[in-house]
Amino acid sequence: MSDKKNNNPIAFVATSVIPESPPPAREAGVYKWVRENLFSNIPNSILTLVAIAVVYNVLSNTLPWILNGIWTTSSLTECREVLQGKTGACFSVLAERWAQLLYGFKYPEEEYWRPNLALILLFFALAPVLFFDLPRKLLGFTVIYPFLAFWLIWGGSILVPIVALLGFAVAAVVFQKLGKGSFAASFFGAIVAALVVWKVGGMLIPDNASETAMLAAVPSRDLGGFMLNMMLGVTCVSLSVPLGIALALGRQSSMPLIKWICVVFIEFVRGVPLITLLFVASVMLSYFFPPDATVDLFLRVVIMITLFSAAYIAEVIRGGLAALPKGQYEAADSLGLDYPQAMRLIILPQALKISIPGIVNVAVGLFKDTTLVSVISMFDLVGMIRGPVLASTEWNGVYWELLGFAAALFFVVCYGISQYSQWLERRLATGHR
């Protein structure tokens, strides 16, 4: 071997592969990442240093405050005695009042499992709606869920939600039966059928049914805390999407009456602040009803918030409808589809897909707007903080801890919604670009 090598006229021949050596230190690992991403040039380096200084400042102030937090005292004064002038949060208020912040101060303590169960079931009910890969049969539970949740949270006679469900079921059957004729006939027929069932059913329910019920009745006035925000948010979003679709289609309708009703409604509601509508709901409406027969305040607020967000969603969906090429409408017509079919099969699936980011935007905004009900003296999360908790002699003066807690709860929900919508957009991206 060595002989051959010596005979070779070429001075040097490598006979084996040079072993792989690690890349130069400045081209690898953390160093490279830092150099390329943080200090690639002078302005970048300056920005990095500034950012580090800001982050350090924020953390050095908040971390001791959080880590030194006191969880076990029974008043702010005691917190201060324990801390002896050091920085530190007084989280004891959360430890003592967490139940009030989540459920309001009047919801009976031994019944907390009911809203908890309703919340867990909510995820099962929403799953088939949000993730359409799941078997369609699960939608059956989604249909039952609103009545079940109503019964769980408000309690009282189980006959009430059953009669309500029955009314909708009868309406659906009537709609199917008459559906062969004109749309209007079946639509109004269904409404009349539901009303008849509710009226008859209402008369059949004995007056003292709620007193002997399995679940003790809880009046709306006793609902509060984050539970109230969740209830308002979920109810209003789920009601306002279909209403918004109807309004958007109505606004494009060729029938002048329907078109103008929708236009006037949308423009009026969009031109009025939500807080005025809430005042109307809480204050003005009570002038129109006799003192003992008022419509439940919760229901009034739900109606107002739903109408408000429906107008916004209608405009979002109108944007989606307008974005569709005219050819889609003409294609639907040329296939011989009638209006409901064309909308259901061709137009809306595409328009709604385009509208998803906008609808989610409205939903997130609406969920946060539910805190406005605190100004009409409903004790939602913010109302609880501003009213009862801060007005107690023990906790007056605790702000950051309470409002930070509220912000954290809202962030979790809103971030969840926006992550879902991004997933949905990716899932529905069937390639238009």
Binding site: L76, T77, R80, E96, R97, Q100, F105, K106, W154, G156, S157, L159, V160, V163, A164, G167, L195, W198, K199, G202, I205, A209, S210, A217, F279, S282, V283, M284, S286, Y287, F288, F289, P290, P291, A293, T294, V295, D296, L299, I303, S374, V375, I376, S377, F379, G383, R386, G387, P388, V389, L390, A391, S392, T393, N396, G397, Y399
Partner: protein
């Protein structure tokens, strides 16, 4: 229940007049509960505690009225109202009485058609300053920055006071008491001005209350009291005389401790009339004979209610001041029970 929940929105129930006409007393008795409007939360005056029970100085008025009318101090439905919703709640009949530290003014009494049934707390606008400022009188505040809640009568009072004393100030407008607290502590203003009871309550929450002083000047009159709808005088009388019963009880030395003993009969005819062992005052009001006794049993006499909720032993630590009995240099003066 069933109709309001299911069909509520669809059934436009008889649009009869919203405001209940005369007969609130009968309504309350028939309902078995008093609907009492309170604030959504004010330290010492009304707030639910950790177990959800309302307590406070204004709440005590509600409880006393409920005890006088229904014999049960817990038969109260507390309706929380904000500064914006309180008057409509009362006018529309949603509540029977409003006990929400509301100032008795001419326009509220006359123009808004309410009837103030007395004064349970004499308040007034005061000033709070840090002690290091070295100020001992509001007249030394020339050129000071003042934290002031916008849109309130305190704003107008402040302007009047500084103008009449010919000194200048710079207002720092703020929205809520909580915001004011933070701004004042952060040094955004030298002085914080609002009702004296509010200042005391705010100061009590500071980390170092001793470093702040309340100045002696009180620059406005803020008589706070319960109010009812105009025109229902029977009901107004019930609320007025329940409050007077609490005040008289203190004057006459009737406390929750010696109530049972006194109710057995005393040598003082006025105590006997108040507690219903003599005369027929209860009958004249349309109540039971022991209405006064029940009202006092609910939370003690006026002095006890004051001491338990906002008095010097509590963190709020308000002195009686103007709210002492007339015999002790205060303004509390109940007409005789005769």
């Amino acid at each position: 229940m069933k109709n309001t929940v299911i069909l509520g929105a669809l059934t436009i129930a008889g649009l009869s007049a919203g405001a209940a006409a005369a007969g609130t007393l009968d309504d309350v008795k028939a309902r078995g509960k008093l609907n009492c409007g309170v604030t959504t939360g004010l330290v010492g005056f009304a707030a639910p505690n950790a177990s959800g029970e309302w307590e406070g100085f204004d709440v005590a008025v509600c409880r006393a009225v409920a005890a006088a009318v229904l014999g049960d101090a817990t038969a109260v439905e507390f309706v929380p109202t904000t500064g914006k919703t309180r008057f409509t709640a009362l006018a529309s009949g949603e509540i029977d009485v409003l006990a929400r530290n509301t100032t008795w003014t001419f326009s509220r009494d006359v123009d808004l058609k309410f009837e103030f049934t007395g004064v349970n707390y004499y308040d007034g606008q005061g000033f709070m300053v840090p002690k290091e400022l070295g100020v001992s009188s509001a007249k030394e505040l020339d050129g000071a920055t003042v934290c002031i809640q916008t849109g309130t009568t305190t704003e107008l009072n402040l302007a009047d006071f500084f103008r009449s004393n010919n000194i200048s100030y710079e207002p720092v407008p703020i929205e809520t008491n909580a915001e004011a607290q933070q701004q004042y502590l952060a040094g955004a203003c030298d002085v914080y001005t609002t009702d004296a009871s509010g200042l005391a309550a705010t100061r009590a929450t500071f980390e170092a209350p001793d470093e702040h002083a309340l100045l002696p000047e009180i620059i406005s009159k803020e008589p706070l009291g319960p109010l009812v709808r105009h025109g229902d005088h029977e009901w107004g009388d019930v609320v007025r005389w329940t409050l007077n019963a609490l005040i008289s009880a203190e004057e006459l030395g009737v406390t929750s401790a010696n109530l049972a003993e006194m109710a057995a009969g005393t040598n003082n005819p006025e105590i006997n009339r108040l507690l219903g062992t003599e005369g027929n005052l209860g009958e004249m009001l349309g109540l039971s004979a022991d209405w006064g006794k029940n009202a006092i049993a609910a939370g003690g006499n006026y002095g006890e209610v004051f001491a338990n909720n906002i008095g010097e032993a509590t963190p709020i630590g308000l002195a009686r001041g103007l709210n002492a009995q007339w015999t002790k240099g205060g303004l509390l003066y109940s007409p005789p029970f005769r």
